[in-house]
Every structure is written in C-alpha cells, then in structure tokens.
Symmetry: D2
Subunit: 388 residues, 4 copies
C-alpha cells in the first residue's frame, strides 16, 4: 500500500464546489425547519460557504442557483466572493418552481412555455458570462405522475431540440452538464431518469455537453461506481453532485450513509482519470441539512470526500492488478479493503497543520464564534430556502 | 365465477372515508401548485368531499386533521357535515409541523416535548368526543437522519409509554390506530417503520389499539396483501390509508400505479373478513393530488376501489380452493385472473343508475358546474394545504 | 376508443418466439423439480413449442440455446421444426456454464479464455447460417462478486473488442442483440448491467448491433416502458425477452405479476413503431416454469401478450393526444385506463374461432391428451434443463 | 472513545458458529463451480471448519444441516468434532429439496406432506439430543409463485399448528429459531417473509421459540439494526445468520458489501444486551463462497465480524448519550463514526499474538499447506454441495 506521504500532492488537487442553497433552509414536503443564522441573501450564503473553505482549503468555489441567487450585479457578487476567498462556480437553472412548469419545461407540449424555459437557460448563460462560470447545470423536474398523462416520446424529442438551442448559445469555454434523476418530483416518469438518457441526449449535442451524476439519483441497488467508470470511459462525465441516501434522494451528508460506497466511487474516479486539476470532472455537493447545522454539515461533507479520496489514493494498484489477473478474489478484495480500513485521519490532520490549516476544522470552526455571530446578526429579513 | 347480481348487496356495504386534506393543496418539497377553487376552510373541504359522496354514494364520511381542521365549534362542524350528507370520521393528529418536534414527538428525549405531543393527542380525543369520531389515527414522523443521532431503543420504550397514556384516555367506543411508514420524513430510521413494530406496540396496549396500513408505506417489492392477511389473522387491522405508488410514498390515486395489486389486496380483505359493515376495518384514502383536479381525483379513487372490490367479490372462491388444493397452479391463478380481467364498469354503471346515481359520476360532476362555481367563488383567503 | 374489429389486422401481425429451454426443467439454486413428459432432446422441445403455436397461432418460431440445443445436423433440425409448423429463430450463446468462465468470458482477463468465448459465438453464427436464424443473442453472466475482484474498466474495453470481432463475422442479414441484466449471477457488478451500457456498446459497432430488453432485468421501480420508448427513438431496440417479476429476475409468466405494466410496455412499443411485421423488433419469451406446467405456461404467456397488445391497440390515441396537450391529467389517464380495463377476451375468442383456432387454446390443449401422451412416452433418458 | 485494552475481555466472549455447508460447493441457478479440496463428507466439512477456529479462536462450533450432514452415528460425529477442537451447534432442517415439498412443507395443504415435514423436524430434534445442540433452526422455502396459487391465510394457520407440534417436542434446554426471508425460492409470496410474521408465530408458542435474523433476507433499504433493536427489546432475538448482499440474498462474505451496516448492527446488538456469553443470541454465518476459496472465505468473515465488533465496542456511549440528548446531530453522528473509522487491525493482531494466535490468520492458514493437502487428498467421491 502507498504511504500517506506519497499521496499528498494528489490531495492538494482536490476541490469540491459548495452549493449556495445548502446554507439556506431545506426540508421535506412535511416541514422545513428554520434555524438562527440562516442567510437571507446570496452574499450571506457565499460568506458561509467561504467559512468551509477557510478551515478546510477544500472548497474554493460556490455554485449559484438561478433565480434563488439572482442579484443586480454579478460582477459585484463575483468580487464579493473573491474578497471572501472563493470563486463563483457552476450556475444551476431552475424550471421547477414556476406555475407555468406544472407539466414540464424544456419538454413542455406548449412551445410558449418551452421557449420560456429555454430563455431562462440563456439568461443563466448570460450570468455565467459575468460570473466567469464554466458550467451550466441542468436538472429537470420534468415528468408525469400518471400513465397516459404525457407522451413520453414527444417529450424526449422536444427535450433534444430545447437542449440544442441552449447548447448553441454556450461560449467556447463553457459547458452544459445534464443531470438525471430516478424519480421525484414526478412519480410515474421523469424525462431524464437515468444515465443512459442523459448520455444519449448530450452525445447528440457535442463535446461540451456532459453528464452530471448525482449520487442520490439512482434506483435501489444500483452500482454507481460502474456508471462512473462507464461515463469516464465514454468521455462524458462532467460533474458530480455528491450526497448520500438510505432510501430515495435523501440528500444526506456525502459518505454518511455508506462510506464504503463513496470510497469505491472515488477509486473509480481516480482509476478512470477523473480526479485532479486536469480532469475536467467537477466535484460538487448537493445536499440538504434538514436537521443538522449547515456550515458544519458542509464541512463534514468535504472532509468525508477528502478522507475517502485519501483512502482511495492509497490503494496498491500494482498489487491489485496482479491479484485480479490471477483470479485471486479474496486477495484482490483484501487489497482494496486494506486501503479503505486505513485510518487516515491523523495523517490528514498533521498534513493540514503543515499547510497552516487547523488539524480539526470542525472544532476550529466551532471555536471561532462565527455561528453565534450570524445567529445574532441575521435578525429580520427572510431566511433563504428553496422558495427564495 | 359469480354473477354481478350476486355481489350488489356486498357492494352496498362499501364506505370509503375521504381525507379533508386531499381537497387542499399539496406537492413535493420542490413545489406546491395552487389551483382555483381550492378550499380555504374546513367547511369548504367538507363541502367538496360531500360532492364525491353525492355522485358515488361511496364516501359517507370525512377524516379530519388536527390542527389543519381546527374550528371553534366541532358540533357546528358536525352539523355542517351532516347537512351536506356526510359524517365526520377519523381524527388525525399532527406532530410533524411544530418546531418543537424537530427531533421527535411521542418518542422525544425531552419529557416536556413528549408531554406536549401526548397532550395534543388528548386534545384530539376531546375533539373526537364532539365529532362522534370512533378512530384516532396516529402517524408519527418521528425518526432520525443519521446513524448515532438517536437512541433507537430508548425511543421505542418512550413511544410505548406515550401510547399507553393516550390509550388510557380513549372512550369505550373509541379506538387508536397506529400507522407505520418505511421512510420519510426521516431518512435513517423511522420509529414506526413497519407493520411488525406497529403490531408489537398496539398489541401491548389492548383491544382498541390497532394497526393502520397505508398502501404506500412499504419497501419496494413488499407483498402488501400478505400483511393484510396477517393483520386480519391477528385481529389487529384497524384501517387502511389507500393510495398508490411507483417509487416511494408517492400518494397517487389508489389503483393508478398497479390496479392488480389493489385487486389482490381487496381479495385478501374479503378473504379475511375485513370487508363490510361489520368488519371494523376502516377504508380511507390518503392521497395528494399534486397535478390533477382534487374532487375528480378523489372520485376516481373511490371508483377505483369500488371497481376492484367488485372484481374481488366475483372470484369463484369454491373453484379456487379446489384448484389450490390440487396444486393446479395455472388453474388457480386463472380463476383469480378471470375475475380481475372482468370488466365490471358497465354493470356498475347500470347498478348505480338503479340506485338513483349517475351512471358516470365523473361526467356528472364535470357537467354540474360545481368546479367552475368554486373557482369563481373562492377568491381571497388562504388556500388550504399542509401548512394551514 | 377503437373497436375490436379495427385492430384484428394488427393482431394478425403478432409473433412471439418461444425459448426451447422453457420446455425443459428449471428452478432456483435450491431445487429444480422434474416433471413427467419433460423433453429430453432439442426435437422434443421443438415439438412441445409447436403445440403452443398450433393452438394459438402466436408463436411461429423457436429460439435455440447453444450448447443446450446442439445437434449434429441443423438442417435436419430445421426440417423437423418446419414439419411441426414452426421455424428456428434466435440463437442464444452460453458462456456461463463452463468452468473456464468462472471469472468472465468476453471480458475475461485471460486472452485465451476470451478467445474461447469469442469462438463459441462464431460457432453460434455458423449454426445460424444453417438454421436460417437472423439474430444472435448475447447475454453475458460476466461480472464479479466483490469490490476489487475485477477491473471494471478493463473488462468494458475487452468487451468492446470481443463484440467487435463477433460483429464482423455476422452476415449481412444477421444481427447481434446484446442483453443487459441488473444482477445475477454476479452480485457486485455485472459487465452489462443496464440499457445504457448495452446501448453504448452496440452503438459503437454498427447498424446490425442492437439491444435486447428483458423485462425482468431492471432495478426495482424502473420505468421499463420509458426504456422501450428511448431505445425505439434511438433506433436500437432489437428484441424483447418477456417475463415478469415481483422481486428479482423471477422469470415468471409474462403479465402475471403486473399486467398493467405489460400493457404500458406494449403501448409504447406500438407508439414507437416497434410492433408488427415491419418493425424489426423481435418478441420473445424468456421464462422459467418452476412449479407450473410448461406447455400451458407458455400458452398462457403468449395469450397474455396478445390480450395486452389488443388492449394497447384499442387506445384512442387521437383523444389521448388532445387530453395530453390540454394538460388534462385525469382525462388522459382515463383514456389509457379505458383500454386497459376493456375485457377483450370474448372478442379474441370469437376472432380465434373465425380463424380456425380454438376459442380457448388452453382448454383445447388440455383436452388434446398431448400432455398425458408425452408423460407416458418420454420415459428414460435425461430430462432437459439448464445443464443439458 | 474507549481504548482497545478496555474491550479485550468483551472480545474474548465472541463466538461465531460456522455452517457446515459453507465448505461445500454452492452457486447460482446458472452454475455451481467445483474446486479442488472440497469436502465429500460431514467429517471433512467439520475438519475444514476447525481450521477457521484454529487460526482465529472465533468459531468454536459448527452448524449441521439435515439431511446434508446425516451420519449413522452422531455421537461419533460429535467426538470427531471435539477431537478437532470444535462443538456441534445448531441443527438446520431442510424441507426444500424433496419433490413432496414442491407446494410447501409445514404449510402444505395436504396433511400427509405436512406430517412428513413435521416428522423431519422431530428427527432433527432427535439428532440434537445426540449432538448436544441447543437450537433447531427452521428456514422455510414455503411460498407460491403466482397470485391465487395458494391460500395465504390457510397456510399461515397450518404453519402455526405445525410449529406447535414441533415446539412441544423440544427439550427444556432446547430452542426453536424461526428464520424469515423476503423472497426466494418463492417469488410471489413467502410464508415467513418478514420479522413481524416470524415474531407473531414464535410469540404464540412460548419462551423457547425465537426469531432468526439473516442479514440478507430483507427488502432493499430496510434498516436492519432497527429490527435487531426491536427483537432484543421484545426478548425474541434468537440468532443471526450473517452474510452480506448488494441486491438480493447474495450470501456474500459478511461485511463485504457494507461494512458500516455491519458495524451499526453490532452496535445495536451490544446496546440491546445481545452480545456475549450470557446473551442467548447466537452468532452464525450463512454464506456461499461461489467464486472465492471457502476456508479463507469463512476466515475473512469471522474476522470481519470481530473487527466490527471491536469498533462497536469502542463507541463512547456516555458521550453519545449526551450528544443525543442535546439534539447535537453532527456531534452524535461523529462519535459513532469515530469508532467506525478507527483502524483496529493492528491492535487485534497484537492481541491475537498475545493469546498464542497468529497475527494474520489468513496468511498463517495460507502458509500452512492445508489447502494444498486437501486438494491433493480429496480425490474421488462426490463433493459436498446443496444437493448432497
């Protein structure tokens, strides 16, 4: 097995984008709990995100969600972010909270509404031009609840046409990533339910259209690392939305439900060339902190990804190949597990300190008083959430 | 196979309680769509529910949800309902929308909050005394999102104690039904996740504590009719919450996702003595009409239950037993399928007319102008939904 | 809704290929039950399959499985089949019952074993040349049971190379169909686990490489008709393996577990141009009759497909489009359900009789004495099964 | 967090029973691969099992399966086992491999076959008297494949009666454990599909009837540790069948698919008093080594259980309770994860050596030459498997 010192240069390459909305309130259809200190503005969300980066050096950018993060002046927002030590990242569109989209957006049977949805994406690209963002991320809530309600095929064809229009507007350095999701909010069919559909749609567009893989958007039992491998092999893995789940799209802290699965995913990412500054694969979180504190929740998340990345980097790939080729099932499995079971936390803490970071970022944040300060300061206004 | 004329007296026994909240707005965590005509008050919900009964004669009662249906004077509400031709039915408690219940209600680690949740249930029983309701239905959102967050065992013991206190307050003619749910809103553990837990809890209380089976609250692949059979066998099936699902707790129109499953469930209900006026098993709907019209949605639902009940009543049980005992797999299956595939709609329409009901309740309702009227009349105010 | 008389010409186009192995014994890992009359030779399997066609006129061809159906003289086998009124159809390869394939076949790390597996497929094509078969069906059991056991990516690349070699051997009128399967017999990863992988692999080969969709090979909750739609849209749906399931790959009689799902699948097949003599989509069964009689089991299966096809053909597609475009959820769903709930059995029986077929094929077969005859005649020898 | 030295006395209490059949061949319905050295007799299986105990001191007993392990003289078999340093443990009945049981055993509609199945269990108790076994384990394959095939309720009642007869034959020191399973080999319904059914059945019998929990026998997404908690709370957890799964009842090495789940299960076992010599809860493996070596596979399994038990014992339960009571979600989760992420392998190796065991049992076994020896010696005869 590799030594920890062998992998620190690779670990330095790690960057995990934070979603601005993770700092706002979220919940289930039953209840959204509010908490003291929740941001009221895009700026406050960015300020909170910057705290995560400050203590971990793992999250140098923040993803925006339009219209939740709409501002008058995106250059000013960018400067604000930079002033807090972070960049603005992926721009996420939203076509699921307008009454017009009750029966779809880019797939809608009515060309007027379809055009409205397309225009929203073009506006997002306008914003990307100002924020310097590379990626436009499209997650579609489009689908239907009852058999017969919608014409599956017509919707797929309209989706292709809509995406084409948006794709053509992208700048040369910009990309589109199309997310897929097994179910929710639609319960009979989703228009982009699986990686195959996302792949078929983006493959028809061109090189700068890619797939976004959200780790919570699969059927029970799906081997996610296999999809990671396949998309990397096909050259079409654009980005990750990390989170974890026990049942559906639970949006829990990444690594919380099944740390071994996260390890396996990261192993395949590395195996397939999807890790590191040159890879073109964006790591992002997409989570909901319904009952836990949001800033430490994000911190825990990026640390989980880092810890599992370190374990995955430690795998003795040479020995693994030998065992695999020999049909040594227990040997090969043992080599993988050896890395997974290695407790890298002490080494990571020391390495963090060597870089001027706190050994224990969560403790350092807790001791900083930031949480108390925002709880006291952020009085009045409307707390950010999915509806604002 | 039986003739339709043989089963009409059994069909007359059918009663399916409607949930008041089905007439308010509902949706997913992503969006709740409003619609013209949505009720603003408990009275308007009851008036809408009465429409379903008027055209189908299938839904003589309406379930209330406290606090959503809180009024000053429940006797007046009862009179209002009676004036519209329906009764008030089951009272549903709610311990999932108060900030105090973030970490549980009847299971909460803090005795103060536990007491508050118990008191809420006692208040519900007070209301039952006024509405003449027989059943108190308890669905608990209690659970946790992360391993370690909660002490599973301690919560179960506290649940037992809380239920005991509530049970002891019930009148001699009143019952408690405890609903179970696989997941949501909690994602790591639910305190009452399966029929076994609900059964073990109510069995410890006494005869008037029973299980409520919601058809959408099971793991993928679960054989629900088996649970129906088992609970009837154990004498502990109190009531049904009918709806249907493709994935999670989708709360779609009952029978919409898998009509054959609904047929099988109803067959086991009848087989086990759970059908009819003497059975003690309450039939209720618990659905969300997120994208379809609410009153016709409820109408479609009770008609679906009726149609599948008719098919289930048609099964030639004598021939079935002979085939089963002979190990004639295809024969026995064929006898069941024969009833399922029989199109009872024409017979039902004729029978409906013979009872002074419209042959096609949905068309009759559509032609009545009621929907247009409420859309015009119900202007202003706050549309009812899960938060109101 | 259409009238039955409108759809009979379409129904005449229906052809459902039977698998020779369905007439042999099958079971679970726990037990394979034998039954009197089970075929001992490929000829006896074909004779049994011909019985299904004789009474239903629905199954004019029989799929072979190599090596289970290996014979000295395939021309003679073809003549034998023709003499019994059926053709030889798809040839299925088998790379899962030789000790050499313990760790894979077309994906194996050892080039010698890979070559052996390729050669087996080339032999299958040789057989196809003699049987006049159009399709080579490849289902791979390749996969691994433990994380780390295998190099997912290397196997995928080797699969591509192996398939290329096989594809190049195909005649101009021959096709390759690549089946996917979610899990079993491998439990950690399958090398072709989903439609996306099969699609990506065959798309890389050429026009005559297509996807085979087995209705039992998906994750729980998967919307199969969506995949049907998508593959038809992409021009890559080659064939169906019909069966049904409650849990895993149960291989039950098609339509037995969820007849409404079968209806929806057939509706999308028709919607997407996948139905009928010109479509290029092959309908096949792939089932196991573990506890029920085999010949009547196959008969029940093709009749189920026919009945659901009839219902799907009855859908009033014009009205459906109007309702869909109007956002009339209940109306559109109602139009679909209307066709599903229509009992076509009487019409089908009459139509069958008008074509010189028995009204009730299963009763006619039972009365024919064939089952008793084979039970008496087929004494000695080794009953066919998956191992022979 | 506790220190490793604090938990060694608890670790000494660990005993994990090995199944004799794990040393024979197993596979899927598609193929059973044979391997050199596979035992041909019960004695050879016991000898192999003794190897696992020799190197780990974790598996002092071997479960038998009747009739697979039938011998003339059970006293002699017991002496043989003792001579190899192990005891004979649980006796498993088998009612799934006789043609008579095609439609059930203890639930069969025919009283003759039911009696035969009961008698088989009485014979198993006779054997237990001779082997000194405490537990009779009943796993029923009984169920049906098609709706209508069987009368669910009648079967349940017959099951109760059959179990009563068997229970009454048990000696005062003997127990019955009833295993449940979600599906397979039956695909529509299993007669004991869930813990609730097993619990209801054994609760009706008496104190010495308990539930057996097989970790692979649940629906996707089931929270197994919750069931562990509940059964311990109800005083009805009799034993574990440990293994792991990605999809169905894969019977993989315990801890291989989801080590964190195994950790959580063991944490609840300890929390609920189910761990240790006084607990009355039996730990057993029930696995299939289809592609990996059997003896090292079993060794890996008991070591996995030991490693996760050590981690679970390390949890700082005092701090955990404080965090839970304070609603500190991230804190409480962190305390649990802290123990899970602790690499106990070095400490375990040192402790092993201090007890005269090899630091690395798997390496020691591999170096011992035993595998080569049995491969050479065990020539001829019939390798043991599920059919022998």
């Amino acid at each position: 097995m590799a030594q920890f010192s062998d992998i620190t240069s690779r670990l330095e390459e790690q960057a995990i984008e934070l979603p601005s909305w993770a700092f706002g309130n979220s919940g289930t259809r039953f209840k959204v709990f509010g908490t003291p200190g929740t941001p009221r503005t895009p700026e406050e969300k960015i300020a909170d995100a910057a705290q995560v980066h400050k203590y971990t050096a793992l999250s140098p950018s923040v993803a925006l969600h339009i219209p939740w993060d709409k501002v008058e002046d995106y250059s000013a927002l960018r400067s604000f972010a930079n002033g807090h030590g972070v960049e603005l990242g992926t721009v996420n569109s939203n076509t699921f909270q307008d009454d017009d989209y009750k029966f779809g957006s880019l797939t809608h049977m009515d060309p007027t509404i379809r055009r409205k949805a397309i225009d929203h994406h073009l506006e997002c690209i306008d914003i990307m031009d100002q924020t310097g963002s590379r990626d436009l991320k499209i997650w579609l809530a489009d689908g239907s609840n009852y058999p017969g309600q919608a014409d599956l095929r017509g919707r797929q064809d309209r989706l292709a046409e809509s995406l084409r229009t948006i794709y053509e507007r992208l700048g040369d350095e910009q990309r589109m990533v199309l997310e897929y999701k097994f179910f929710e909010p639609a319960f009979y069919h989703m228009d982009v339910p699986d990686w195959g559909t996302s792949y078929a749609q983006v493959a028809a567009l061109g090189e700068r259209a890619l797939v976004c893989l959200d780790t919570g958007h699969h059927a029970p039992g799906t081997n996610i690392e296999f999809i990671v491998m396949q998309l990397l092999r096909l050259g079409k893995l654009g980005s990750f939305d990390f989170n974890s789940r026990f049942y559906a799209d639970d949006d829990l802290i990444v690594g919380a439900a099944d740390p071994f699965q996260l390890f396996r995913i990261l192993f395949e990412v590395i195996r397939g060339g999807g890790y590191g500054t040159d890879s073109g694969v964006a790591f992002m979180l997409d989570q909901c902190h319904n009952v836990e504190d949001k800033i430490p929740g994000q911190m825990r998340s990026v640390l989980n990804v880092q810890e599992m990345t370190a374990r995955a980097l430690l795998v003795d790939t040479g020995a693994l190949t030998v065992a695999q080729d020999a049909g040594d099932v227990l040997g090969a499995n043992g080599i993988l597990m050896d890395a997974f079971y290695t407790d890298v936390r002490t080494d990571l803490a020391a390495w963090r300190e060597s870089r001027g970071l706190p050994a224990d970022p969560m403790a350092a944040y807790a001791a900083s008083g930031y949480q108390q300060k925002i709880a006291e300061d952020r009085v009045g206004g409307v707390q950010a959430g999915w509806g604002a």
